[in-house]
Amino acid sequence: MSRRSDGNRAQPREQGDYRPSAAGIGDAVERRGPGGGQLGPLVRADGSREQAMVPAAEFRSYYGRQILKTPAWEDKIAYYFFAGGLSGGSALLAAGADLTGRPALRRGARVGGLAALAAGTYFLIADLGRPERFHHMLRVAKPTSPMSMGTWMLAGYGPAIGLAAAAELVPKRWQGTVPGRLVRALARPAGLAAAALAPGVASYGAVLLSQTAVPAWNAGHEEMPFIFTASSAASAGGLGMIVAPVSEAAPARRLATYGAVVELAASQRLERRVGVVGEVYSAGPAARYLQRASTLTAAGVLGSVLLGRRSRIAAAASGLALLAGGLFERLGLLHAGIQSTEDPKYVVEPQRQRIAEHGPSRAR
């Protein structure tokens, strides 16, 4: 560094940058010019490469190594978010069907909601490093931890949707017994309680992901709750179109349409709003999953609007497309976050930009 101290900060980047000054030190230079990021970890196993949306700005790093840790979460957590969202949306649909006299839709949505929750709970626990300790989540209730809040929401939601679904599953010969009658009498209150908690169940996952240092998730905290809830609505609508005859499925079709439209719009806004981090949505597995999500969701809505009220088969096919779209949406969001931790660019550049525009973050 130059002794001309005052010029230190203003020196050309070359001055302070790492460069291999001797043989044997590889090309892992920290500075990356345009396209330089493609040398880095964003070259995926399948050979796909990040497509830089804008010429990469210069940034410095420690030999291009990632700063943040890659999230510990695997695809199972995306399955959980999908299943939990589906369950929540289904609980809402079931409550509406219950109150408006649509028994087939009510039955399918309640049972589907419970099945989805059961599957989701399996994935949630399986994704733990120590699954046998899952009940340690119940040691504390911690407002600063969205995972803790979500756990307690699920602790209330699970029994409610479980009871509502159980009422649908009571065999005929037990329906006259005291327990059978009790369960059936409690079905509506339980279903309504589940519906009251369902929007929380469907949305907290977005806060869980956003309240991390993962650039794509943290930056997307405005849109992600809407993507989560809308995707839940689309998935639950899809399920409703599968389980209920077309005569009862009109609310499911409308819910699916709302969900799909909001999901697509919120995703668009997210990718455009978050600056350089938005690149991860159009790179690697995240891009593939999100592409599939929007294609399937759009196809599902189109099918439901055009054919949903005419053909049960077309409605069911549309419903399946919506469900698959919801699953891919969560996988896409998960991988966008993972990818945003794998290149120090997504940590350094936004923070440097923040410093340049507002100065370093200060507690106020």
């Binding site: 929007p199 309240q211 410093i355």
Partner: protein
């Protein structure tokens, strides 16, 4: 949540705010003065030994003398090693600086650097006066393949080495601690942040909650691990193993208040000596994490050492995030009600 200063903002007594009584010990921390780090890695070894941290593999990373790479589940001290051109032309460290020893910077020998870089011996600039007797910067026999292939090589083989021992920052507002859903992570009476291994269920939330990429889930174990600031040693009135082993006192342990004063004085001293690039990282109690319990004196931008330049605890935006979630949840409820209106 009622006391928003607990998740963000000024916080002078994290231990007290976590429920320890007024007689809890003063907040402890590290001041790592990288200007006197010699990259010996004694801290890495001492930490491993004392804490019985398992082996994390032997990888030659091929980038520098750092083959550890980063902090992780089984690496609680990590010595970063950065080789930079120190510029050519006018002498950077005039002869007078040689006598200041570690007050200046570790500067590689130009002759050795040249030899490794394939440059003709004797062409070194006059600036190479501080020879610390360190080995050359390239592998043996590498001279033949360097040549002048790299147009960007520093002139005259002049370069400097930056070495820095990284560690968990024990943040005032710790993202890992905030998001831990089991209470496994807790604030100690010393104001440090520690994982209770008998509680952790490996949910992985802390891994993504940390804005520095410190804590990690250990493969094959499933739980999250990081520096404890030698909680056991602190309880017995000892200093942490890394600080104890550091031969140059680059790692200084003590009361955080005192360390901050010492660090400020050290920066001033370095600036007076012309090392104007010296700056503190993580020492400001008003920064995005409320200041670090373990902070650093750096000689370049934080990102050069692998630090985020402007870290913020994710919990800062918790209200905003739940507000958006609440809006989305309300919209879902409203729509779910609306779809049952109408025909069909």
């Amino acid at each position: 949540m009622a006391d928003h200063h607990r998740v963000y903002g000024p916080e002078t007594d994290p231990a007290g705010d976590s429920g320890y009584g007024p007689d809890h010990p003063p907040r402890k921390g590290f001041f790592t003065d990288t200007s006197i780090c010699i990259g010996c890695k004694a801290c890495e070894v001492a930490c491993k030994q004392w804490n019985d941290v398992p082996d994390d593999g032997f990888d030659l990373l091929g980038m520098s003398y750092d083959n550890t790479g980063a902090l992780g589940a089984s690496t609680w001290r990590h010595v970063a090693f950065i080789e930079q051109p120190s510029g050519g032309g006018p002498p950077e460290y005039p002869p007078g600086r040689a006598g200041t020893g570690f007050a200046g910077l570790p500067v590689g020998s130009a002759e050795r650097g040249s030899a490794a870089g394939g440059r003709p011996p004797g062409s070194a600039g006059p600036g190479s006066v501080v020879d610390l007797g360190m080995p050359g910067s390239g592998p043996p026999g590498a001279a033949s393949r360097a040549g002048g292939a790299r147009g960007a090589e520093p002139p005259e083989g002049q370069f400097r080495w930056l070495m820095s021992s990284d560690v968990c920052k024990h943040c005032t507002h710790a993202g890992c601690l905030d998001v831990c859903p089991t209470g496994a992570l807790f604030r100690t009476e010393f104001g440090t942040v520690v994982v209770q291994q008998d509680i952790c269920n490996g949910c992985g939330y802390c891994v993504s909650g940390c804005p520095y990429g410190v804590i990690q889930r250990r493969e094959g174990d499933g739980r999250a691990w990081k520096c404890t600031l030698c909680y056991d040693r602190l309880k017995d009135g000892l200093e942490p193993a890394c600080a104890h082993a550091c031969p140059t006192k680059s790692i200084q342990f003590g009361d955080l208040d005192e360390l901050r004063e010492r660090a400020a004085a050290r920066v001033e001293q370095l600036h007076e000596q012309g090392v104007t690039e010296a700056r503190l990282y993580g020492a400001d109690p008003d920064d995005g994490v409320g200041g670090n319990g373990a902070f650093f004196l750096l000689l370049d931008e934080p990102e050069v050492y692998g630090f985020p330049p402007d870290p913020v605890v994710p919990t800062r935006d918790i209200r905003r995030m739940w507000t958006f979630a609440g809006l989305a949840a309300a919209a879902l409820t409203a729509v779910a009600a609306a779809v049952f209106g109408g025909e069909g």
